[in-house]
């Protein structure tokens, strides 16, 4: 069977490209690391790929706000990414990649394609790395979470992950279109504050999808939980067979195969 080609999009300051590529490889995809310049110069063609991933990191150093410069590049010069999403192919933006998608106006998805939300500085005002519990909205159309349990654990590591919206209407729209895909919760599955909600996100939002379900942006790092030995408690438990993060990549690969 032919493996779907996955474009892992790099730029200066991308950090999580190797492990994201590795996760897609484990999931049965054929990842390729390419820099934005390769696409802009025409050396590579976006539509030759079945999946696009924008990994974590500090694109261009995040000097003028996390993901801002990369987002402007997409908004201005890489407009075909919107067409790629409209074609129904899977696109995932992780951490800095989520920040890029939000600041490029791709997520939350609006008819005009404007930026209506942002990822702002954590309430703690610090970069923090910790594992969090997430509740998945199983009502959503997202192709990435098919077959996943309602509650999962993933690590976060960011300084600017507080999801905020331009107006209350945006939140209403997100709820109505079932675009809120993951929310930070405590052990009992309840919405609580810090540290379970590690950044103070509005409505505990950790991940957003487009209503069609093929474009996902999330602050947590699924590529850091692709085997059971990635879980911080694997030395204590025997029940968990593999990393839940791998399922997200597998769903994307399987979708691209069909």
């Amino acid at each position: 069977m032919k493996k779907p080609k996955v474009l892992v999009l790099r730029t200066a300051g991308t950090n999580c490209d190797l492990e994201t590529a590795s996760a897609f490889k484990m999931a049965g995809g054929e990842p390729e690391l390419l820099s934005v310049r390769d696409l802009l110069s025409g050396k590579a063609k976006l539509f030759n790929y079945g999946i696009v991933a924008i990994p974590g990191g500090f694109s261009y150093g995040d000097d003028v706000g996390a993901g801002r410069i990369f987002a402007n590049e997409i908004r201005g010069q890489l407009r075909e990414l919107r067409g790629f999403i409209r074609s129904g192919r899977p696109v995932i933006g992780i951490c800095n990649g989520f920040q890029v998608l939000v600041k490029a106006g791709i997520l939350p998805q609006t008819p005009a394609g404007d930026q209506v939300a942002s990822l702002s500085f954590n309430d703690s005002n610090r970069f923090e790395a910790r594992w969090v519990r997430l509740r998945i909205n199983l009502q959503s159309q997202s192709l990435f979470v098919k077959g996943l349990p309602e509650m999962i654990e993933l690590p976060v590591a960011h300084g600017e992950g507080k999801f905020v919206v331009k107006s209350p209407k945006v939140l209403e729209m997100l709820k109505k279109t079932r675009a809120i895909l993951m929310q930070y919760v405590n052990e009992e599955g309840k919405f609580t504050g810090y540290p379970e909600n590690p950044n103070g996100s509005l409505f505990n939002i950790a991940a957003i999808t487009n209503p069609e379900g093929n474009c996902l942006g999330l602050m947590p790092h699924p590529e850091r939980y692709v085997t059971r030995w990635h879980h911080p408690n694997w030395t204590r438990q025997t029940f968990c067979k593999e990393g839940v993060g791998l399922e997200l990549f597998r769903n994307a690969v399987n979708h691209a195969l069909n």
């Binding site: 790099r10 200066a12 300051g13 991308t14 950090n15 999580c16 190797l18 492990e19 590529a21 590795s22 996760a23 484990m26 820099s35 310049r37 390769d38 974590g56 990191g57 500090f58 261009y60 150093g61 995040d62 000097d63 610090r126 970069f127 923090e128 790395a129 910790r130 594992w131 690590p155 590591a157 790092h221 590529e223 850091r224 692709v226 030995w229 990635h230 911080p232 408690n233 030395t235 204590r236």
Partner: protein
């Protein structure tokens, strides 16, 4: 940008007429006013050299000597003769480094040591295809002056060391260890010093911002607090990199182009290598600290990793202390038979037009590397750099003339004999004295302290040198690259003090089905060093290796790094302590069969008080240890797992409380410093390491500050599983007469283990011959219960209260 307005600048190319007839005093004055940090013998050697040549040196030439001959670059104290007096005997040491640390490595002859003391980092085998490069550096002085920038550029510098090892290693782990004064200090802050809270928070922020932006997990380290570091904070930064074994050898051939890549050259970081005295003048404070910019280094890293695969260069090194002068000078030595380089410095890329040629030659601007590039590869390299957004320039070419020649727009700036530059530094003999401190009356029985055991435990857990480091650790991205199999924080709620992290670099190695990883451990205890630096060095090696054994690394393949931070080497007693510590390192390395592969020293960590008295920091030795974890799926964490499992204590407990936390708590003095018994310690360590890797141990933790009491508490509250320990069962020497001593002794080479009942038999068989005893069991009741020698309950403490005491200090002080 490369065309400079130099008319108004002192160009540094003009001969300095003052040299040939100058008196020693004139030379000393020049030395002081220019900040060269050369001593009288070195100045005289330079003078004599130019008298022989019948010409005056240029400013740029003297600067080249100052950088190349600096303590930072040449390690003069460690490599020059020392007259060492130890009690009654006197001994002449030709080179301390060669006779201690390097000697141990040579004698151990480990085939997996692939490059030691030769390159920018030590390199050891990882598997058949890959090797690990490890280097640890200090950045003390910059961090004292400007802690955020100093920490950032310290991290950036050590990453470049690893990037400049062999043909370049990919960084896969950063380590950081700090020594600060207690951050809750309430006294006045001396002029020129910063409040220790500010130093701590700024250094952590610097390590965080640079390491996180570089995408390298910072997952190992430690902090030591002691009032003595108030004026001289210590910042140790380390990087482990992964390199194909086929890319370890580097070469330079005459005719290869000298290519500088990465950041531009500016006036930041002038005289960093010679800037070692605490007396700052106005000019030095403006320019001596470099400015870091992580994104430039990330671009450089990504570009070099691709260029390495395509073999677009033959050799490279980082631009660190001394800038181009050191980097080009070092690489020139490798070129042909005699070595040599010809540099046209005006071709460099500059940040500013306001830079004098000699400044460009020694500037320590960050994020720069120097490459030796075959002429026919230049075009491909230039394309690759352009695609990654990395700037580069061709500075000249390597030669076989035996000379270091630097010109500026046709005018000679430097024309030096390479051999004299690298071998001509005068070796001055220093004297060193070691006198063992007089032993005080030893406390032999602490029976009447029994009632305070619980209070002492809570005090120890809340001590700054024991308490939780979560406030710091969470700010580091310790899981980037997706290979952190054991995190620095372990246990049920991911907040217990792990012995070490385990890294599985599968995303870099890319080989499916390989579960080979590695781990890094650290050892340090300056309190022991105050009593005996020899014992301190042995304890540090013992601790670093114990950490590795606990998590499942193979200690029979452990390699060591040494980082000495010391006071004034011209003070015979300080130097005597340094000799003693180096001897401890050698003996420990030989005993544990763990070779040193790289090291670094930072001397002159002193401050002068208002009365003009010079104070040295306590001699501080950091040992970092690196070992493979053959199967990361066998890694073990320190948290107790379940109730009703036997608990074993490995190793002998003695009345060794010198420099211990108990002494600080009880305000005792004169205790015996913990001493490693090398032969038995090595046997126990290697045997335990095998047992853990065989999957026979559920939880393992080594006993250090606060001894058995603290270790048991940490394992219990991290796992939320109670434990009962009977101190009567603890294997102990005859000088131990009471339970308090058993609980708080800091005897080294001891471990507390949780063993599954169904594996107990196999465990006992595997551990045969190792001194140990079953001292208790895990229990469902969430308490730490210690039963005394007469079977009475000595202490019973609730785990949540112990944990709260342990977690409180840093958040309380730092917010």
């Amino acid at each position: 940008m490369s065309a400079l307005k130099t008319e108004a600048q002192p160009r540094g190319a003009h001969p300095q007429a003052a040299w040939s007839g100058a008196s020693a005093r004139d030379l000393a004055d020049m030395n002081a006013s220019h900040g060269w940090s050369l001593d009288a013998a070195e100045l005289a050697a330079v003078q004599a050299h130019f008298q022989k040549l019948k010409r005056e040196p240029t400013r740029a030439e003297v600067e080249t000597f100052a950088q190349t001959w600096s303590e930072h670059c040449k390690h003069k104290t460690f490599t020059s003769p020392i007259l060492y007096r130890d009690g009654k005997s006197t001994k002449r040491i030709k080179s301390l480094l060669a006779e201690t640390i390097v000697d141990a490595t040579a004698r151990l002859k480990k085939p997996w040591c692939l490059s030691v003391f030769a390159d920018n980092a030590g390199i050891v085998a990882f598997d058949k295809k890959w090797a690990l490069a490890y280097k640890a550096e200090t950045h003390n002085h910059p961090c004292a002056v400007e802690p955020y920038g100093g920490a950032e550029t310290g991290v950036g510098g050590v990453i470049r060391d690893v990037l400049g090892a062999g043909l370049g290693a990919k960084p896969v782990l950063n380590t950081d260890v700090f020594c600060f004064a207690p951050p809750d200090y309430e006294g006045p802050v001396s002029p020129g010093a910063l409040h220790p809270r500010r130093t701590l928070t700024s250094v952590v922020a610097g390590v965080r911002d640079y390491g996180n932006r570089m995408g390298i997990p910072t997952a190992a380290g430690g902090v030591w607090f002691d009032e003595a570091y108030r004026h001289n904070p210590l910042v140790f930064v380390g990087t482990v990199g992964l390199i194909p074994r086929s890319a370890i050898a580097k070469a330079v051939k005459p005719g290869d182009l000298i290519v500088a890549a990465g950041g531009r050259t500016g006036r930041d970081g002038l005289h960093g290598a010679t800037f070692s005295s605490a007396a700052l003048d106005d000019q030095a404070s403006v320019s001596a600290v470099q400015i870091g910019h992580a994104i430039n280094e990330k671009r450089l890293l990504d570009a070099l990793m691709r260029a390495r695969e395509l073999r677009l260069y033959r050799g490279l090194t980082d631009c660190g202390a001394g800038g181009f002068s050191s980097a080009v000078g070092e690489m020139a030595e490798l070129s042909g038979k005699r070595g040599g380089a010809r540099v046209r410095l005006e071709a460099a890329l500059f940040k500013t037009t306001e830079i004098a040629p000699w400044e460009a030659w020694v500037s320590e601007s960050q994020e720069r590397m120097v490459l030796a590039v075959p002429k026919d590869k230049l075009a491909a390299l230039a394309d690759l750099f352009a695609s990654e957004g990395v700037e580069h320039c061709v500075l000249g070419e390597f030669t076989d003339t035996g000379r270091l020649e630097v010109s500026w727009a046709g005018e000679a700036l430097v024309d030096l004999d390479l051999k004299f530059l690298h071998k001509g530094v005068p070796r001055r003999e220093r004297s060193a004295v070691w006198e063992a401190p007089k032993a005080g009356p030893l406390v032999t029985n602490r029976r009447n302290e029994r009632a305070r055991a619980g209070e002492a435990l809570r005090w120890c857990l809340g001590h700054l040198n024991v308490c939780s480091r979560e406030w710091i650790i969470r700010q580091y991205d310790h899981e980037v690259q997706g290979g952190t199999i054991l995190k620095p924080l372990q246990g049920l709620h991911h907040d217990g003090p792990g012995d070490a992290c385990v890294i599985w670099p599968q995303a870099v190695v890319g080989e499916e089905g390989s579960f080979r990883g590695f781990s890094v451990g650290h050892g340090m205890n300056p309190s022991y060093g105050r009593i005996d630096p020899y014992a301190m060095a042995q304890a540090a090696v013992d601790e670093a290796l114990s950490n590795l054994a606990c998590v499942g690394a193979d200690v029979s393949q452990a390699a060591l790094l040494d980082n000495f931070c010391w006071g004034d080497p011209e003070d015979p007693s300080e130097l005597g302590r340094l000799v003693r510590a180096a001897q401890g390192c050698r003996d420990a390395a030989l005993a544990f069969q763990a070779p040193f592969i790289s090291g670094k020293d930072s001397l002159n960590n002193t401050y002068t008080d208002a009365k003009g008295l010079k104070h040295s920091i306590p001699g501080t030795l950091l040992i970092s240890a690196l070992a493979p974890v053959p199967d990361v799926r066998q890694a073990v964490t320190m948290d107790f797992k379940t109730a009703n499992n036997p608990v074993y204590l490995v190793g002998w407990t003695s009345n060794e409380l010198g420099g211990s936390l108990w002494e600080a708590f009880a305000q005792e003095k004169g205790g015996a410093v913990p001493v490693v018994e090398p032969r038995s310690a090595k046997e126990a360590l290697w045997t335990l390491s095998s047992a853990i890797r065989a999957g026979l141990v559920m939880s393992a933790h080594d006993l250090r500050e606060g001894g058995l009491a603290v270790a048991a508490a940490e394992m219990a509250f991290s796992g939320e599983v109670g434990v009962q320990i009977d101190v009567d069962l603890v294997p102990r020497t005859r000088d131990v007469a009471d339970p308090v001593t058993i609980l708080f002794s800091e005897s080294p080479s001891r471990f507390l283990l949780e063993v599954s009942p169904d594996k107990e038999k196999a465990f006992l068989k595997a551990m045969k011959g190792v001194p140990m005893a079953r001292v208790g069991k895990t229990i469902a009741n969430p308490v730490l219960r210690v039963v005394g020698l007469d079977s009475r309950t000595l202490l019973e403490e609730r785990l949540n209260e112990l944990k709260a005491a342990w977690q409180a200090p840093l958040p309380r002080i730092l917010g």
